[in-house]
């Protein structure tokens, strides 16, 4: 016999619970009212199931298979603020593509940060992928351009462009990013978000959308104790799909985004009631 539930009581507890998982306050509050309304319509529903299904509703299934594209070379551009994991993710992405029988070339278009060209070169070697590089300080757009030419000449399937981390507030660097995008005409642009970051994730997602534009998101560092609330927030605020998540520093630590996996991570199993 089910315990009687109070929809308001259930809903009132949701925002803080989700903010604790780094969901944006707005998304958490919207979710709470969604749950409240559903429970008011039918008080026999299980609150936890209602919460899970409401979260899934906020994250519509996205049908795009990065392995099944009809353009060659298929150009993927990576962007994001500093240190979120772009370069590491490119190594994993290259490894994922190669494991699935694709050929890949990487453009070392972070020509700014100390050690960036060396880092992507070593990662490329580890992933068995060629890396097109220019000198430090040179024009990132022309590195991207050369890598695409290289792929065309050698019939390579994918070009992955690594770019320098740039703050969402830095006008000059956002303009530079626009230029890289204009020159490389990517088929897919991916924003890389760090799961450890909190309420700011949606600011990043919004400002990169307004200033550069992108198609989807990759969320990194989900092997930490961060629960990745930003994934839900970005679906809620920007309607952008998450394509992959990363769960470690190794080349294998990447997987296509699975909504059900995510819901379990975001809301841990409810404790079994004994009474």
């Amino acid at each position: 016999h089910r315990k009687k539930i109070d929809p308001d009581e259930v809903a009132d507890e949701i925002p803080l619970k989700l903010v604790e998982a780094d969901v944006s306050l707005e998304a958490a509050e919207d979710l709470a009212s969604l749950v409240r309304n559903k429970l008011k319509e039918d008080t026999t529903l299980d609150p936890n199931e209602v919460l899970s299904s409401s979260i899934l509703e906020m994250m519509p299934e996205y049908k795009f298979d990065v392995l099944n594209v009809n353009k060659k070379p298929f150009v993927v551009l990576f962007l994001g603020i500093n240190g979120t994991g772009k370069t590491t993710t490119i190594g994993k992405f290259a490894h994922y593509l190669k494991r699935n029988g694709k050929s890949v070339v990487i453009a070392a278009a972070d020509t700014f940060r100390a050690g960036a060209i060396e880092q992507i070169s070593l990662i490329g070697r580890e992933a068995g992928t060629e890396v097109i590089r220019h000198d430090r300080g040179s024009d990132p757009s022309s590195v991207a351009f050369d890598a695409i030419e290289h792929a065309r000449a050698r019939n390579i399937d994918y070009v992955l462009i690594d770019t320098a981390g740039r703050m969402n507030t830095n006008k000059n660097l956002l303009d530079e990013m626009k230029k890289i995008k204009r020159v490389s005409k990517p088929d897919l642009t991916l924003l890389v978000i760090d799961a450890v970051s909190g309420q700011d994730s949606v600011n990043q997602a919004r400002m990169f959308e307004e200033n550069v534009g992108y198609d989807g998101v990759i969320v990194t560092k989900l092997d930490t104790d961060a629960r990745g609330g930003s994934i839900l927030s970005i679906y809620h605020d920007l309607k952008k799909p998450v394509l992959f998540v990363c769960t470690g520093q190794g080349l294998d630590d990447i997987m296509p985004f699975d909504r059900n996996w995510y819901v379990r991570k975001l809301i841990p199993e409810p404790e079994n009631e004994t009474a």
């Binding site: 803080l16 903010v19 604790e20 998982a21 780094d22 306050l25 603020i81 500093n82 240190g83 979120t84 994991g85 700014f112 940060r113 100390a114 050690g115 960036a116 060396e118 880092q119 070169s121 070593l122 990662i123 580890e126 981390g165 703050m167 969402n168 507030t169 830095n170 760090d194 450890v196 970051s197 909190g198 309420q199 700011d200 994730s201 600011n203 990043q204 400002m207 560092k221 092997d223 930490t224 104790d225 961060a226 609330g229 930003s230 520093q249």
Partner: protein, 291 residues
């Protein structure tokens, strides 16, 4: 204090109570709710937010504003004071020869901050040596080496040495005539037992004067718990907040302080070696609260 210019949301709440000669429990609750929203949106830890606002509620009901001060201004002052209390007494690195170890999560800015610190000490007349003890990340060696050359600091690294403890011992020996030795370590988090064990071994063997935790301003709810884990493992002596040039408010760093009670020394405000400022608690709180 520039109370007039508080965030729109808080101002709205304050407007609600303007004119009332006393504040009742309900009004206090309402203000507390609004304050909670502001703090949560700035990434202050839920636990810290509830503590601070509870204390504010208590004080608002028990204390009387000083003569001539309106209730609403007094409420704001309590909030500000409680947060300032968390930040503690201002303190900073000592301007003397010492060994500093930088620790923190992946990509938060340790290696970059090593260079910024070297430049800071150089301006104070102390030369620095940077030790590349991140044996895990690709090209961590090259990154620190290039940064060292940019700031004219000495550099020690050894790409064939995979044991950071041995590497650091050699480094300290090589750099013994340098005033400030700054050790750059790998990114890690508390879920990674192996890397946490490594940093414990390093700390024990090296016994640095300062263990500075580098906290990215964008860090969310895990900043407090992670700071606690680092502190429990190796004893953190200070915090540097990085990436304050973005839109993030740094509430995670505040929560870290609430958890481990160590001072914030500096903030990083950009990728360049000069982008390091001495921490100013009042400026920090103004920004956090949306002044």
């Amino acid at each position: 204090m520039v109370l007039e210019s508080f965030s729109a949301s808080l101002r709205e709440t304050i407007r609600k109570i303007t004119g009332s000669s006393y504040i009742d429990k309900e009004t206090v609750k309402e203000i507390s709710k609004d304050l909670q929203r502001i703090l949560l949106k700035a990434d202050v830890n839920v636990k810290t937010v509830l503590q601070v606002t509870k204390e504010m509620e208590r004080r608002a009901l028990e204390e009387k504003p000083p003569a001539g001060m309106a209730h609403q201004d007094y409420m704001v002052r309590i909030i500000y004071e409680e947060l300032l209390k968390i930040l503690g007494e201002p303190s900073n690195v000592k301007l003397k020869p010492q060994t500093i170890m930088l620790v923190g999560l992946y990509g938060n800015g340790k290696t970059t901050t090593a260079g910024k610190l070297a430049r800071f000490f150089a301006k104070k007349g102390l030369n620095s040596g940077l030790i590349a003890a991140d044996v895990h990340r690709y090209a961590a060696y090259d990154q620190l080496k290039q940064i060292a050359s940019e700031v004219n600091a000495k550099f020690y690294g050894d790409q064939s040495e995979k044991d950071p403890v041995r590497l650091i011992k050699h480094g300290l020996e090589q750099l013994k005539d340098v005033a400030v030795k700054i050790i750059d370590t790998s990114g890690r988090d508390s879920m990674d037992a192996e890397l946490f064990d490594e940093i414990r071994r390093i700390k024990e063997a090296v016994a640095p004067d300062e263990v500075l935790m580098i906290i990215d301003a964008t860090m969310g709810q895990q900043a407090g718990p992670e700071a606690k884990a680092f502190n429990d493992a190796i004893g953190v002596t200070g915090i540097i907040i990085t990436k304050m040039d973005g839109t993030a408010k740094g509430g995670g760093a505040l929560s870290a302080v609430a958890e481990i009670h160590v001072p914030i020394y500096f903030i990083g405000t950009g990728e360049h070696m000069d982008d390091l400022e001495v921490f100013d608690p009042k400026k920090f709180l103004s920004r956090l609260l949306g002044l």
